[in-house]
């Protein structure tokens, strides 16, 4: 049984535009055989939700450097509202430890900090994809 390639949105919401992280992650996931939907920075939460629906995303990766993670709970609420609670959200970047707990509580699956190895991120995205498809009742 072969896993259908994970479909992953890699994006940035909020104000900041430091996109080194999101571009390196996109290229890495793509090299690992995944289907990556990359967006430039500055996306609106509503746009990300719409994209997740249209693209049937398994995982949404949010890159944050300059406190934009503070509005991720709003994204989680919007996903729930759109009946997309099964979509797995991961966050990478500068996230203070005290804020990580709040993100996990809001439903974020994983927070990656500076220094995270690309291989670990790839492995986690595969695991989370399997989880999402199980939640959907799909055989993985």
């Amino acid at each position: 049984m072969v896993l259908r390639p994970p479909r992953v949105i890699v994006t940035k919401i909020g104000f900041d535009g430091h996109d080194r992280g999101s571009r390196v992650i996109s290229a890495t996931l793509r090299d690992a055989g995944m289907e990556v939907i990359y967006t430039p920075p500055w996306q609106e939460i509503a746009t990300v939700v719409k994209l997740a629906t249209e693209e049937d995303a398994d995982v949404i990766g949010i890159s944050s450097l300059a406190t934009d993670h503070l509005i991720i709970p709003q994204l989680m609420a919007a996903l729930k509202e759109a009946d997309l609670s099964d979509v797995q959200v991961i966050v990478g970047g500068i996230v203070p430890a005290k804020d990580e707990a709040a993100l996990l509580k809001a439903g974020v699956a994983r927070v990656f900090h500076p220094g995270a190895a690309l291989d670990d991120i790839v492995t986690d995205v595969i695991t989370l994809t399997a989880k999402r498809r199980q939640l959907q009742g799909e055989s993985v």
Binding site: F15, H18, R20, Y38, P41, A97
Partner: protein, 560 residues
């Protein structure tokens, strides 16, 4: 090992050097050749075979002499230390003002102003999610905010560097404040940081920008206006920092920055300006990585290449036009979340590279920037690092102390060669704007970023605490900065509404209409109308919004 690594095939190699090479081979471990971040092969030893010093005056020149490899001023740090220009910005204008007064009391001679990301992106505070206000910089939306921020600050005597991307509204607000206080604009000094719109298109999507051709016109109008009316202001800071932070190698970052400098200079000339009028006010801003010698060579080579470009390509005759003035910031991407106090050692090394590289002003990062905006204690250590290097390590005693080193001179030559190669590539593409539109610059930077990360993941590039020398640790052990009190933000939002309600709406409308009309008239100066709108009480968001409507919005030209 490459047999020719030491140029030993040359007949002139003395026997003593051949003897050294034999002994080296017997005891050395690993590859004889290593590579720096710019991909240059590094040998284990440099000798007179690599650099003989016979072209000293042509290639180096004494400090203050063309082509300025050894420094742009005769006395360098013996005349004046570099400026310690730490970034400041958080909360609301009152918070900024309190912090500025503190650092002025500590003896700071230069200020910086980092506005909130909402300002960077061209919005007023009432247009954005309030959770994000003031978390990364100061919320400043109009002339009255600037009055509060600069209350008690002698702006006629102290230089202000503002992170103020196009259309440069913060400078508009400062000039309006100066006028209200009766300070002539000729006494306003400082730099429009983040004025380099090309760097925003290729490497840092943090800033509001107009569509490329609109951005291109506004920056030239800004340079022209400042040259005429704010003659001691540096209207342009050409930024290599974004590109290197985004992944460009040191050589690429220097080359692409100089290529941007060429583009701006050519645009100024096309707009009818004389090189000796605008070039003395061009400044540069670079990232300083922990790769010590490579960074030193980058700066020494950059200085030489820029001097030659200004004199030979643009025909500038005034030596002030040839001088490559730059600010350096220690590299944030080199810092690690693991064992964060190690970052103090990294910042120290980076700062040394900048100082040996001959910078004019320096920002040292705080060790905790991997967690949050710096805490007060970490910011104090960052400043102390500069003081220790100057006062205790005595780095300023000798000008260009590494000049004449076989290695550093040889690396400087090689860096120059590499920089000129990339500049030729950009010239061939039709200049930086064309190169950016075609995506070749973004691709170059993205490829280098990925290649570096792969080296780290493969363990070829050791990062202490990340892929080697790890220790168990608790990320909660270090303090992080508290976000601004939401009550203060709510008070600010009320004040903003009050400001908009009590100003002369008719004057604001007239000024914004004139601003819009100036975009249609090529003989009109758009920045002049930004200043007038700022004086009339138009807000940052209104000015940006109007220009966005007239000139179009600059979407990210990004790709993977």
């Amino acid at each position: 090992m490459n047999a020719d690594i030491l140029n030993l095939r040359r007949e002139t190699v003395p026997e003593a050097l051949r003897k050294w090479e034999r002994e080296f081979r017997q005891s050395a471990k690993g590859d004889a050749v290593t590579y720096n971040r710019s991909g240059m092969a590094i040998k284990p030893l440099y000798t007179q075979q690599d650099w003989s010093g016979d072209r000293y005056e042509e290639a180096l020149g004494h400090p203050g002499q063309y082509p300025y490899t050894r420094g742009i001023y005769a006395s360098m740090y013996r005349g004046r230390s570099w400026s310690q220009r730490q970034l400041i910005g958080l909360g609301v204008p009152e918070d900024y003002n309190a912090r500025v007064k503190e650092i002025l009391d500590l003896g700071a001679s230069a200020l910086s102003l980092i506005p909130c990301n909402s300002v960077f992106r061209g919005y007023d505070a009432d247009e954005v999610p309030h959770e994000l206000l003031g978390t990364c910089g100061t919320v400043i939306n109009h002339v009255k905010d600037m009055e509060v921020a600069l209350d008690g600050v002698p702006i006629g005597d102290i230089s202000t560097a503002m992170n103020d991307p196009s259309p440069f509204t913060l400078l508009g607000f400062e000039l309006a404040v100066a006028k209200r206080r009766g300070i002539p604009w000729s006494r306003i000094t400082g730099t429009s940081n983040q004025s380099d719109c090309i760097s925003h298109f290729v490497a840092n999507h943090m800033f509001f920008r107009l569509a490329l051709q609109g951005a291109r016109r506004v920056v030239i109008d800004h340079i022209k206006f400042c040259n005429l009316h704010v003659p001691n202001w540096n209207p342009l800071s050409i930024v290599g920092q974004h590109m290197q932070q985004a992944g460009a190698t040191p050589a690429e970052a220097m080359a692409l920055t100089l290529a941007s400098g060429i583009q701006y200079a050519e645009d100024c000339i096309a707009a009818g300006m004389e090189p000796d009028q605008f070039l003395p006010r061009f400044t540069f801003f670079f990232d300083i990585s922990v790769s010590l010698f490579e960074e030193i060579a980058k700066f020494r080579a950059g200085r030489r290449v820029w001097a030659r470009l200004c004199r030979e390509r643009f025909g500038a005759k005034d030596p002030r036009s040839w001088r490559f003035k730059f600010h350096g910031q220690t590299s944030g991407v080199d810092l690690t979340r693991q064992q964060p106090l190690n970052n103090i050692a990294r910042v120290t090394t980076q700062a040394m590279a900048g100082i040996f590289g001959g910078l004019q002003s320096l920002h040292t990062d705080s060790y905790d920037e991997v967690f949050s905006t710096p805490t007060a204690e970490a910011a104090r250590i960052a400043v102390a690092t500069q003081n220790i290097l100057r006062e205790e390590a005595q780095l300023t005693d000798v000008i260009d102390p590494l000049g004449g080193s076989y290695y550093v001179e040889s690396l400087t030559d090689e860096m120059e060669h590499k920089i000129n190669g990339i500049i030729a590539l950009i010239d061939e593409a039709g200049g930086m704007y064309s190169a950016v539109e075609s995506g070749i610059v973004q691709r170059m930077i993205g490829d280098s970023a990925l290649a570096f990360q792969k080296k780290v993941d493969a363990g070829e590039q050791v990062i202490v605490g990340v892929n080697a020398y790890q220790v168990p640790e608790d990320p909660d052990e270090y303090p992080v900065l508290e976000y601004p009190d939401q009550e203060r933000i709510q008070v600010y939002l009320k004040q903003l509404a009050e400001f908009k309600r009590t100003r002369s709406g008719a004057e604001v409308t007239r000024a914004l209409d004139e601003l819009a009309r100036s975009t249609e008239n090529k003989d009109s100066n758009i920045f002049e109308h930004v200043v007038k709108a700022a004086e009339a009480g138009a807000t940052h968001g209104e000015i940006c919004g109007r220009l966005r409507k007239e000139l179009g919005f600059g979407h990210p030209l990004t790709l993977v």
